[in-house]
Amino acid sequence: MGRYVVRRLLQMVPVFFGATLLIFLMVNVMGDPIAGLCGDRACDTATAAQLRREFGLDKPLWRQYATYLGNVFTGDFGTAFNGRPVLELMASAFPVTLRLTVVAILFEIVVGITLGVVTGLRRGRPVDTSVLVLTLVVIAVPTFVTGLLLQLLLGVRWGWIRPSVSPDATLGELIVPGLVLASVSLAYVTRLTRTSLVENRRSDYIRTAVAKGLPRRRIVVRHLLRNSLIPVVTFIGTDIGALMGGAIVTERIFNIHGVGYQLYQGILRQNTQTVVGFVTVLVLVFLAANLLVDLLYAVLDPRIRHA
C-alpha cells in the first residue's frame, strides 16, 4: 500500500511539470499582456518597457518558465497585474470554491445515490421511469440555463434566496449555487448507481445472500450497494477536480468570488501568473483526488489490493 502511494506520487511529478508548461505556453501564445493595461489607448513606450522588465516578460520564454518554477518552489506564485500577490488571490478564492464543491459533492452523494438506489430497486416502475426522464432533462439543459432560471424564480420572483452570494459566501448561501453546479453530475450519479445496482442484483453472491435468508436491508446496503458503488466513486472522485475548475459559469451567475472568477479575470486580462498558478493548484487537486479514489477501491472491494 505504502509503496503504491509513493509510486503514484512520483508519477505526479512529470504530470505537474507537463501541465504547468502547457498552460504557460498557452497563455503566452495569446501575446503581450501589457498592451491591454492602458485601456483604449497605447501605453507609453517607456512605462510599457519598464512593466515588461518588472514582470520578466522581456526574457525568452524558457527563462520565464524556469524563473516561474523556481519561484513556485519557494512559495512565490508571482504578482497579478493589479499588484496583488497570486498567493493572496488563492487564499481568498480557494476556500470559497472548496465550500461550493463540498456542497455540490454532498448533493451528488446524498441525492444522487439515494435516487439511484430507489430507481435501481424499482426498475421499470413509474418511479424509475419518471426519475430517468427527469435526469435526461437535467443533463440536456445547460448549467447556465438552470442557474439563471433558479436565480430568477427563487431570487427575484419568490424572494426565497438572495440572487447573489455575499463576499463571505457562507454555506447557507451556497446551497442553491451548489445544487446548480451539481445538477448534471447528480443526474449521472443517479444513472450510474441505478445501472450498477441493476447489474449486481442478478449476481451470484446476492442470490446466495437472499437464499441465506438475510434481511433485505442488509443485502442492499452491505452486499449490493457496496459493490455497486465502485464506478460511482470513480466518477465522483474525478468530479471533484472538474467541479473546482469548472465552476466558472456558476460562479459568474451567482457572483461568487472563487477560483472560476479569478481564472476568468486572469484569462481576460491575460495574466500569466494568475492563470498558471491557479491551474497548477487545480492540477494538484485533480491528481490528489484521483489517488484518493484509487485507494478507496480497496476499501469498497476487498478483492482489490494495492501492491
Binding site: 465550500r99 427575484v156 447573489s164 463576499p167 486580462r269
Partner: protein
C-alpha cells in the same frame, strides 16, 4: 473490517475539517442611510496616477478632490482646492491652494501634497499608467525618457514657492491646462502614501467627501461619509458600499430583487425591459465617450489619392440611426461630429459638423467608393475584440449596412480578436490592414482631449498614424490662444480637417446608464458615466 472502520474515521475527520473551513464571516449589515452599489475589480493598484479605468476612478472620485472639479451636470471645470491659477503667457502658471483643506487623517493639503504627487506620477520608476498626463510639464523627458534610464527624479517645471503656492512651467503653450487639472491623476497625496505605500493601498486615504472604512480587495469596499469634510459637496448619505460583481447581469438581478441599490451598467440584454422592470428608476444620460472606426493610415492601400473618398463612402453606408435604435435601444446617439454632447456647444461640441458625410446615403456611398477606386482588396475587415462590450453585434450590423448599401454580400466582414490585450497589441504593432473599432473615453471635458491625443502627428493615442500639417498647426494655435472662445473655434477648424480627410469614421456618442432601487433619490451620472454618489439621498 478494521480497514473500513479506519476509512470511516478518516472520512468523518475530513468532513469536520471542511465544515470548520466553511465557518467564519457573518452577514454584512445594511441600514441607516448607506447605499450599496455595483463595482468591478480595479485593474490597477488604486493610486491616482495609475488608475485609468472607470471602476478605480469611481473610488478615487469619492475619496479625492483636486484643484479643479468638473461640474457633475455641465462638465465645466470649477475651482475646488484651487484658490486661483494665474498665467500671463499660457506657459507659466502660479497655483494657489485654498487654506483649510486637510486629508481625512488630519494632514493639511499643501502645495507640496500636489507637487510630490505629480512628481511621483511622472517618474518612470513608479510605472504609473497615467504618467503621460504630466508630459506637458517641463522636465518630463528627464524623469520619463522614451528610452534609457531617467536622469532626474523630479520635474524641473514644478516649484513649491510657499506653503500654499507652487509654479508650473509647461514645455509649450497650453491655455486650457488649468481645466485639465480636474483629472484624477492630478490629485494631491498625503505623506502617508510616500512613507508606506502598501499600507496606503490597503486602505487609501484622501481628501474627498468619503473615507474608506474597510477594503477587501477583489470583493468589497465600505466607504463612510467624512463628517469633517471641508468642501462644499458634502455627502448627502451616510456611506456607500461597493460590491464587486463579475457579471453586470447578476448586479441587475440583485437590484430587481431589492438586494442592491444601484447598478451603473445595464447589461445590453436587459435594455428592452429595463423601463418596465425598474418602473422608471432608470437613467440614460450622455457620457464623454465616442465610438469610431479608425483607419490604418500607415497602410499604403489607405493612403492612395482615392482612399479619402472610400472612407467617406463607408461612413455614408452606415445606417447609424437604425443601429443605435435597434441594437443599443437608445443608449447611443448617432454621431455628427468628433467630440461629445457633454462638452456643450460652448465647450466645442458642434452637432452636424460632419455634415452629409455622416448621413446614411447608400447611393452616394456606392458612387464615392467607386470613384475612389473601390474597397482596397475588394473587402473591408473591421477588427474588434470579442471578449468584452458585446462589440460583435454592432460590428456585424455595421457590415450588414455597408453590404446592403454596396449591394455586395462580401464587401464588409467582422474580424474578431480573442482578447482585448491581443487586440491592443495588434493595433500597437501597426499591422492592421483595415478599419478597427476605437472607443475614446475623455479624460477631461475639453475639445482638445477629443482631438489632440487622437489625431495630432505621433500623438499618444493616434493609433491610425494619421498625420496632417494643417491639423497640427491649428491645434498648436488653439493651445497658444488664451481666449477660450477663439481657442475652441480653432479646434473646430482642426476638426474640419479631420472631417475632410475622414481620418476616422465617427459612429455614435455613448451614454451612461444606471438603474436603482426605490430607496434612492437624486441619482445622476456625471459626464464620465460615474454615479454622483455624494448627491444621492437614501430613504
Amino acid at each position: 473490517m478494521r480497514g473500513v472502520a479506519r476509512a470511516r474515521w478518516a472520512a468523518g475527520a475530513a468532513v469536520v475539517l471542511l465544515a470548520l473551513a466553511a465557518c467564519g464571516g457573518g452577514a454584512s449589515d445594511r441600514g441607516g442611510r448607506v447605499l450599496t452599489s455595483s463595482w468591478g475589480d480595479p485593474q490597477n493598484p488604486l493610486e491616482p496616477s495609475n488608475t485609468n479605468e472607470v471602476q478605480g476612478g469611481k473610488v478615487l472620485d469619492m475619496i479625492f478632490r483636486g484643484l479643479k472639479r468638473y461640474d457633475p451636470k455641465t462638465g465645466k471645470a470649477e475651482n475646488m482646492l484651487a484658490e486661483r491659477i494665474e498665467t500671463t503667457d499660457s506657459r507659466h502658471f502660479t497655483i494657489t491652494v485654498k487654506s483649510g483643506w486637510t486629508f481625512s487623517n488630519g494632514e493639511p493639503v499643501t502645495a507640496r501634497s500636489f507637487v510630490d504627487a505629480w512628481n511621483y506620477g511622472a517618474s518612470l520608476r513608479n510605472n504609473q499608467k497615467n504618467a503621460h498626463f504630466f508630459s506637458y510639464i517641463e522636465g518630463y523627458d528627464k524623469v520619463h525618457p522614451e528610452t534609457g534610464p531617467q536622469t532626474a527624479d523630479t520635474l524641473s517645471g514644478l516649484k513649491v514657492t510657499g506653503p500654499r503656492t507652487f509654479t508650473v512651467t509647461l514645455r509649450q503653450k497650453f491655455s486650457t491646462f488649468p481645466d485639465t487639472l480636474g483629472y484624477v491623476a492630478f490629485a494631491p497625496l498625503p505623506r502617508a502614501f510616500f512613507t508606506n505605500r502598501s499600507a496606503w493601498l490597503d486602505k487609501p486615504v484622501g481628501n474627498g467627501p468619503y473615507v474608506v472604512e474597510s477594503y477587501t480587495k477583489g470583493a468589497q469596499m465600505t466607504l463612510r461619509k467624512w463628517d469633517a469634510y471641508p468642501g462644499p459637496d458634502k455627502a448627502r448619505n451616510d456611506g456607500v458600499t461597493l460590491i464587486v460583481y463579475t457579471d453586470s447581469n447578476t448586479a441587475y438581478t440583485d437590484v430587481l430583487a431589492g438586494n442592491l441599490d444601484l447598478v451603473d451598467d445595464i447589461p445590453a440584454g436587459q435594455l428592452k425591459n429595463v423601463r418596465t422592470d425598474l418602473d422608471g428608476r432608470y437613467i440614460n444620460t450622455p457620457a464623454g465617450i465616442l465610438q469610431t472606426l479608425v483607419f490604418p493610415h500607415y497602410d499604403p492601400q489607405w493612403r492612395t489619392s482615392g482612399a479619402r473618398k472610400v472612407r467617406i463612402g463607408l461612413s455614408m453606408a452606415i445606417n447609424r440611426e437604425q443601429i443605435t435604435r435597434t441594437i443599443f435601444r437608445g443608449t447611443r446617439t448617432p454621431a455628427t461630429d468628433w467630440t461629445s454632447p457633454v462638452l456643450g456647444t460652448d465647450g466645442g461640441y458642434k452637432p452636424g459638423l460632419c455634415g452629409s458625410a455622416c448621413r446614411y446615403d447608400p447611393a452616394a456611398a456606392r458612387r464615392l467608393i467607386q470613384e475612389g477606386g473601390g474597397l482596397p482588396g475588394g473587402q473591408v475587415r473591421i477588427t474588434y475584440n470579442a471578449d468584452t462590450g458585446s462589440h460583435k453585434q454592432w460590428v456585424d450590423a455595421v457590415c450588414h449596412s455597408i453590404n446592403n448599401a454596396l449591394g455586395n454580400d462580401k464587401a464588409c466582414v467582422g474580424e474578431p480578436v480573442g482578447t482585448f490585450a491581443d487586440f491592443r497589441n495588434r493595433i500597437g504593432r501597426h499591422r492592421m490592414t483595415g478599419p478597427f473599432r476605437a472607443g475614446w473615453q475623455m479624460d477631461y471635458p475639453l475639445i482638445q482631449n477629443f482631438l489632440q491625443p487622437l489625431y495630432y502627428t505621433n500623438a499618444s493615442s493616434n493609433d491610425g498614424k494619421w498625420s496632417n500639417k494643417t491639423f497640427d498647426r491649428l491645434v498648436d494655435q488653439a493651445n497658444a490662444e488664451s481666449d477660450t472662445a477663439r481657442a475652441i473655434r480653432l479646434f473646430q477648424q482642426a476638426e474640419e480637417v479631420v472631417r475632410d480627410d475622414m481620418a476616422a469614421i465617427p459612429l455614435w456618442y455613448q451614454n451612461g446608464s444606471a438603474g436603482y432601487s426605490a430607496r434612492l433619490h437624486d441619482v445622476t451620472l456625471n459626464p464620465f458615466s460615474v454615479p454622483v454618489y455624494d448627491r444621492i439621498r437614501v430613504g
